[in-house]
Subunit: 393 residues, 2 copies
């Protein structure tokens, strides 16, 4: 298979009630990504799009066809992927294959979502559709409850006192909001918070407080993928996708013997590491799926950055900051940057590419000298997708 | 790229208000497909699933993850595709690439839908989400209106008197219902109709009458795909996917200069024919997207079986019957077999594979000696996907 590079990145503002449609948001990000590598619409051979709830938010299904044609990619194959919050990462992995196989040379892939267009009650309801409808949603389990249960199980399994875990979780959210103030695209770009504000916030699902939870968000992010040969003509700084992984889980109750470890993530990231020929120690920067603060701690362990039960110490020790052992969610993460679900994986990937290229020097969030990055996205109950990205110059 | 074969097929009953969930329907069809080639769940490396409205019908998003794990494909990558009514054909085309590229040897791909679980008013509303929400649905255009407009445009463009076109459209539906009585999976497996019943039925959107329109349906269909090497161990009668095509359209009004020809279909089928090295004259049997009777006539022309304006004559002359020049929709088509939208492309593919293998001798609908078949699926406004299938023994 051929090498595949990311040669262009585009990212809209993330926020609440953005005054554009999902199609318009995708087109805005795609236009930026294509301008970055001076690509014309006629050069694009296919479109891949992550989107979860366009039908609920805007009465719009099959969004990919309209996006392709609005962008002037006349009549190209356009494919939509729904894997809950992992939709865009799944789309990127799939787009990779169409280029790696030699079928296409240049494709556009991204995600778009307007989660706030539904209003909070419907958003909560539709998000819960990423859990199992018959056995999980029916008895009342939604995702805040899912992760609250995981937090309790985590504390008891690893003998971490709940108060200690509470402190660690607060530090996760505090760090994300700190870096969010350095990201002009972040939904909470003006909002630093303190540990006391997190631990003293109102309880969503014990032990999770409001500021343990990422927001509902609107936004889009888009990438241009190209074969090695095509990439060399489009950019001096190709970022190669050197590893990919994907795995799926049964409903939460059927995962019980393995929890709080997420087996699908461990399997997925193993695929990605092996394909890239790297280990967790080789990762210079990571964007991981922090839908809730406890999710960050568990993810950091699953990805190999800490032993089971010791993920929270990474944040306590400052290991996850710029200059630390493994900088995590320097974009602000889902927590502060925002979480427009169908766009999130493309946003994470965009951030890693810009970090590896050294684009963020003026932002106060550049991880100097990063050459290898990891993307981690969790969808629903869940689907996990991982990408290893490496600087190619 | 490697050759890719279909080695197993499964198909549930199609009908209204089936007493199984979408997950259960997919699993039923997958179990049949895997039994056909004596395949165990541990041999399956990935799942690809077409599904459009699981969230509306059952409050179930991310259906693919639960399907994979219910079937015992523990933790494999599972990907959902939404391309309106073309979802499953898009999924098959994508699954093909993962095997052709050498990444996987054996995968399962199919589609599932419970369109009737929503009730007719919501089904009509959600189906319209395959059109453009901002400019098409808002003024009131739904798909019966879309195809009614096409019928009028067709009649005026090609100087076919509307009465003549009305007769031809009736013959399309009569033939589909006739063959539907030969298909034990068909939704209308006991319902032959007459031309007078079609033309005398109540008007849905002039000139379309009730029996010009396919029904809402529930059901699933599933295929096992394998590399050439793996296929030889699994079956004596591999059916190879030798050609594939996919293309997308802008909203209907933006297609106006080309209509009533569907440019996306002409581009898509050209890709498929060229890849397979065949012409329309080489096709022994075709399943095409007859969501409305006029859609069949237009599709037959776009696919190269008749000149523009002359598609209806194929049905008048009996060319589309068994023994005719180009047998079309011998399964009963969407019209009589049913149209569980996310499953339709997999159902069409299943039918062609069984025809090429000569499985249907006892049904009264076998096309004797067929070696090359064509699948044609239209999604929404629309996305078109085509597959050329060829007997490999």
């Amino acid at each position: 298979m051929r090498k595949v590079a990311i040669v262009g990145t585009g990212h809209t503002e993330f926020g609440s009630e953005l005054p554009k449609t999902e199609i318009e948001l995708f087109c805005e990000a795609a236009t930026e990504a294509m301008a970055e590598c001076d690509l014309g619409p006629q050069q694009v051979q296919a479109l891949f799009c992550g989107n979860v709830f366009g039908d609920f938010a805007e009465g719009q299904g099959m969004i990919q066809s309209f996006i392709a044609n609005e962008l002037g990619f006349h009549n190209v194959p356009a494919t939509r992927f729904e894997g809950a919050c992992a939709s865009a990462t799944v789309a990127i992995r799939d787009a990779f294959m169409w280029v790696a196989s030699g079928f296409y040379d240049i494709v556009v892939v991204g995600g778009t979502e307007k989660a706030t267009a539904m209003g909070t009650p419907l958003a909560t309801r539709t998000f819960a559709m990423g859990a199992e409808a018959k056995y999980e949603f029916a008895p009342g389990l939604t995702f805040p409850g899912f992760f609250a249960l995981l937090a309790h199980l985590y504390a008891s399994t690893y003998n971490v006192p709940l108060e200690k875990l509470r402190e660690q979780m607060s530090l996760v959210s505090v760090q994300s909001h700190y870096y969010g103030t350095k990201n002009p695209h972040a939904q909470f770009r003006h909002k630093e918070i303190t540990p006391e504000q997190v631990s003293g916030g109102f309880t969503v699902a014990s032990p999770l407080r409001l500021l343990d939870c990422c927001p509902f968000s609107d936004g889009a992010a888009v990438l241009v993928l190209a074969s090695e040969e095509a990439a060399k003509k489009l950019t001096d700084k190709p970022v190669y996708i050197t590893g990919l992984g994907q795995a799926s889980s049964p409903r939460l109750s059927a995962q019980a013997p393995y929890l709080p470890r997420i087996r699908a993530r461990e399997l997925s990231v193993k695929q990605a590491y092996e394909m890239a020929g790297v280990t967790p120690q080789d990762i210079d920067i990571c964007e991981l799926h922090d839908c809730f603060s406890i999710a960050s701690i568990i993810a950091a362990e699953n990805l190999g950055f800490a032993q089971a039960g010791e993920g929270g110490r990474l944040w306590e020790n400052g290991d996850t900051k710029i200059g630390g052992k493994i900088p995590i969610n320097i974009s602000g993460g889902l927590k502060a940057k925002g979480h427009p679900i169908g766009a999130t994986g493309a946003s994470q990937t965009c951030e890693i590419v810009r970090q590896l290229r050294g684009d963020l020097a003026d932002s106060g969030r550049q991880v100097a000298g990063a050459r290898t990055g990891l993307v981690d996205t969790l969808g629903g109950d869940g689907i996990i997708a991982n990408l290893v990205l490496q600087a190619g110059w």
